[in-house]
């Protein structure tokens, strides 16, 4: 029976090609816009490290101005970064299974004896757990030792991209390289890794590529580095030199810890609260005690990584899909009623209401399948167009990578949504046509 209905459906669709094209076009367009927007939204709002969501925590502490919070709009939140002195003090705790303190910097890479021009690279100055804590995949080698962190030893991890540029993608572990004219030894090459949104440092754009180069944390003091992210302060201080800067109330260090269970979480929380209480006695931390351990999903939310624009776009996409589907219902209804005399004949010849309903539903299914497939292809095209909008500079094509891979989750979501929505949209017209008393239309003939 299904084969016969399919045949009927195809014949009916061919009877008025204009109307059919209009319906399929409306479905396809609605799905395309939805796929595009959902992909974009997903790239910006997903939790890129969901599998470790219950053990990773961003550490923030409120030592801000006693007279006003860091952010007037969110007075309950401490600043997103730590001061150097607090980060160093809290880092000493051995309660966390893994811990990282870090900041971003910019350097110039050069290789002795190579004709390549020196290369400007974004750099993460970090302690050694960075790679294991965030599950960063390695192509060659690995991270450095504990001792290298504050020594600091001249060791470095390169990104795969930079390794391909400088060493043609070969295993470069053990090779020498110069960063801001200081010699470093490569100990590892990080594989392709693109956490979206970039959650571990919310100073930069959420679609930003991870850094090209990683060096031990102690190099900030050794080379008197400043953060390439934001450095914020609240207190007027007489900062004359780098030592003053390290001891100041300026925030520029990000801290994350891995706490395997509830007990470790509570213990570490007690530890930082205790530290803050001691600092209170020394005259700092004059705000009410407010230290936070924030999980990645919560972190993305409180830091507004998903902007209002994205929410509007998703709303718009669904409004668009709704209009497309309403349109399809209207067109289907018109089409089925147009063919009502034929249906009348079929009913008079003995087709049951159920059979007429099923036949029309098959027709709807054909339309929604073709529409969904076309919509997916069109959505891909639109995404390419969107990428062109966001590609700013070939060299700095950071975030565009994010939109390059249409992820399966949003495709499946949009596709099944569209398919079932169209079927649902077809239910009413198919039911309505089955209710028609055959005699009316037979008479009209």
């Amino acid at each position: 029976m299904f084969g016969y209905y399919l045949q009927l459906a195809l014949r009916n669709l061919r009877r008025n090609p204009g109307l059919t094209a209009l319906m399929i076009g409306a479905v396809a367009l609605g799905i395309a816009v939805c796929v595009m927007t959902l992909t974009m939204y997903h790239a910006m709002s997903g939790n890129p490290i969901w599998w470790k969501n219950d053990v990773l925590y961003a550490v923030t502490m409120d030592f801000w101005d006693p007279q006003q919070p860091n952010d007037e709009k969110k007075p309950e939140l401490p600043p997103t970064q730590l001061t150097y002195r607090d980060a160093m003090a809290v880092y000493r705790s051995d309660i966390p299974a893994r811990k990282v303190i870090m900041h971003k910097a910019v350097g110039i890479l050069s290789v002795d004896g190579q004709a390549l021009k020196p290369e400007r690279v974004t750099t993460r100055v970090t302690t050694k757990d960075f790679f294991q804590l965030f599950d960063v995949p390695m192509q060659y080698g690995g991270t450095w030792t504990d001792a290298a962190d504050f020594g600091p030893e001249p060791v470095m991890v390169l990104s795969r991209k930079m390794n391909e540029k400088l060493f043609g993608g070969a295993n470069s572990v053990g090779k020498r390289i110069r960063w801001n004219d200081n010699e470093f030894r490569i100990v590892g090459v990080r594989d392709n890794w693109l956490p979206l949104p970039a959650f571990y440092d919310v100073n930069n754009g959420s679609l930003e590529d991870p850094e090209d180069v990683y060096i031990p944390f102690g190099w900030n003091v050794a080379l008197e580095l400043q953060s390439a992210g934001n450095t914020n302060g609240w207190k007027p201080e007489d900062v004359k030199n780098y030592q003053d800067f390290l001891g100041s109330e300026m925030t520029w260090i990000q801290m994350w810890v891995e706490l395997p269970d509830r007990a470790a979480h509570d213990k570490f929380k007690a530890f930082i609260d205790n530290y803050a209480m001691e600092q209170k006695k020394a005259g700092r931390y004059q705000r009410p005690l407010n230290n936070r351990l924030t999980k990645p999903d919560e972190w993305l939310k409180v830091n507004d990584v998903v902007s209002n624009d994205d929410r509007i776009l998703v709303g718009l996409a669904f409004a668009f899909l709704a209009v497309c589907l309403l349109n399809t219902v209207g067109l289907l209804l018109a089409k089925f009623l147009n063919n009502a005399p034929l249906t009348g004949v079929r009913r008079a010849l003995g087709a049951s209401r159920r059979q007429v309903f099923m036949q029309h539903l098959v027709e709807v299914g054909v339309i929604s399948t073709i529409g969904a497939l076309l919509g997916l292809a069109l959505g891909g095209l639109l995404l390419m167009g969107l990428r062109a909008l966001y590609t700013f500079d070939v060299q700095d094509a950071g975030g565009t990578q994010a939109l390059a891979h249409v992820d399966m989750t949003s495709v499946v979501t949009a596709l099944s949504l569209a398919f079932f929505a169209t079927i649902a949209a077809g239910l009413y017209p198919a039911w309505r046509i089955g209710r028609i008393p055959p005699a009316t239309y037979l008479k009209a003939q």
């Binding site: 209009l22 409306a26 776009l313 209009v323 309403l326 209207g330 209804l333 009623l337």
Partner: protein, 407 residues
């Protein structure tokens, strides 16, 4: 009113209400989206197009990064600036700490009297830049009082964000600091630790670093050299010579000093466009999706009208046969369609206002202006009329003979 036959049209419509309701629903969504899209797009376009106070079309930014240990920053910037200033087509060149409208910069809280316990509300935020004596000319900003910096006043680089004792400020910043004054030159304001700063010049307008910041026009220029080893040069060219000068700079500075990397030579537009990229894309996206949505809605109206005509061929023929003119038929369908559109518009007004309210709260924007709603309603009416015109005219072409033919 009887000439318009409102009542019979309405009752005919009511008998086939499903299709009409579907179209009305589409129109409601269409109106809500249209009104709010125009509202948001207008805000964005105004944001992108607001005056910067600078001669943006003829400005070039150059970044040079010294990276070798024996790199001599001091002689490097002197040499570079001399080269840049000597190039044909260059009006002025200056060493600056940051690039306005680029999203990167430095800001500080300032106050109009010394003291440590000033209430936070009286602290005025300012976006500060370290500049040299050619900055006013190179930025193309307009001094409305006082003077520019002299070469002898430019202080050596500071590694610790130190403030200077003199400043050129925007009028907006000065007004906020000294609300009751009109003449700001010679006035003293204070930075952190009550460091006194004397205003030597006032400029009418200039935008700072962060395009999303509401204090964007609070700019403070300090006479100080940018710290090394990265230098940022601003070059202002004679009108129309920007691109040629950029090529010259690449050629002249590219290999002049092996101890540094000429990172880039970029027009000012590059940074401005990048800062407004999201706003621009949002506008493009809204305009295209809204257009597509209205087109689909128009198709829906067209489809409904066509369907209504095709199912009433005999009735139309009968009406024509008993004396209705072609105009009467056209009017019938247009009025019928207008009723559907209006039903949608009424529902859509509520949705448009609701969404508009939500957006104004989310973005902290002024409330949706009712003009937008009026404009939206008129647009939708016009679209509805245009979409129904062709089916209505086809209906009027039906011959009266149809009435007698098939019975």
């Amino acid at each position: 009113m009887t000439a318009w036959n409102i009542r019979p049209i309405a009752s005919a419509l009511w008998r086939n209400r499903t299709g009409a309701l579907l179209v009305a629903f589409q129109i409601a969504i269409g109106l809500a989206v249209l009104v709010n899209a125009v509202y948001v797009v207008k805000q964005r376009v105004e944001l992108i197009g607001r005056p910067t106070g600078m001669d943006t079309d003829n400005m070039i930014w150059v970044a040079s990064a010294g990276f070798t240990k024996n790199f001599d920053y001091d002689s490097s910037w002197r040499e570079d600036l001399a080269t840049l200033r000597g190039m044909p087509g260059v009006k002025a060149a200056s060493l600056m700490s940051n690039i306005p409208l680029s999203g990167g910069g430095s800001s500080n809280g300032f106050q109009n009297r010394p003291g440590e316990n000033i209430p936070p509300k009286e602290i005025v935020q300012g976006n500060n830049y370290d500049v040299d004596e050619q900055a006013v000319e190179a930025l193309g900003i307009k001094l409305i009082a006082g003077r520019s910096f002299q070469a002898s006043e430019i202080q050596p680089p500071s590694e610790t964000f130190e403030l200077s004792s003199q400043a050129i400020v925007t009028e907006a910043f000065a007004k906020e600091l000294f609300p009751k004054e009109t003449n700001f030159v010679g006035k003293t304001f204070y930075g952190g630790l009550s460091k006194p700063i004397v205003i030597v010049g006032v400029i009418d307008h200039m935008l700072g670093a962060w395009v999303g910041w509401d204090k964007l026009d609070h700019v403070v220029l300090f006479p100080r050299l940018k710290n090394g080893p990265t230098a940022i040069y601003l070059v202002r060219t004679e009108p129309g010579r920007r691109d040629a000068v950029m090529r010259d700079i690449e050629a002249k500075l590219g290999d002049s000093n092996p101890g540094r990397l000429l990172r880039w030579v970029r027009p000012f537009d590059y940074f401005i466009d990048q800062s407004y990229l999201d706003d621009r894309n949002m506008a493009i996206f809204l305009v295209s999706v809204t257009t597509a949505l209205l087109a689909i809605t128009a198709l829906g109206i067209f489809g409904l009208a066509t369907f209504n005509v095709s199912t009433r061929i005999r009735q139309i023929g009968t009406r024509r046969a008993v004396g209705a003119s072609r105009m009467d038929i056209v009017r019938h369908f247009l009025v019928e369609n207008w009723m559907v559109t209006t039903a949608g518009v009424v529902a859509g007004c509520g949705a448009a206002l609701g969404i508009g309210y939500w957006i104004s709260v989310k973005y902290e924007l002024p409330r949706l202006d009712l003009y937008y709603l009026v404009g939206g309603v008129l647009t939708i009416w016009l679209i509805g009329l245009a979409a129904a015109l062709q089916p209505a005219r086809r209906a009027s072409a039906i011959s009266p003979a149809v009435a007698s033919r098939t019975v």
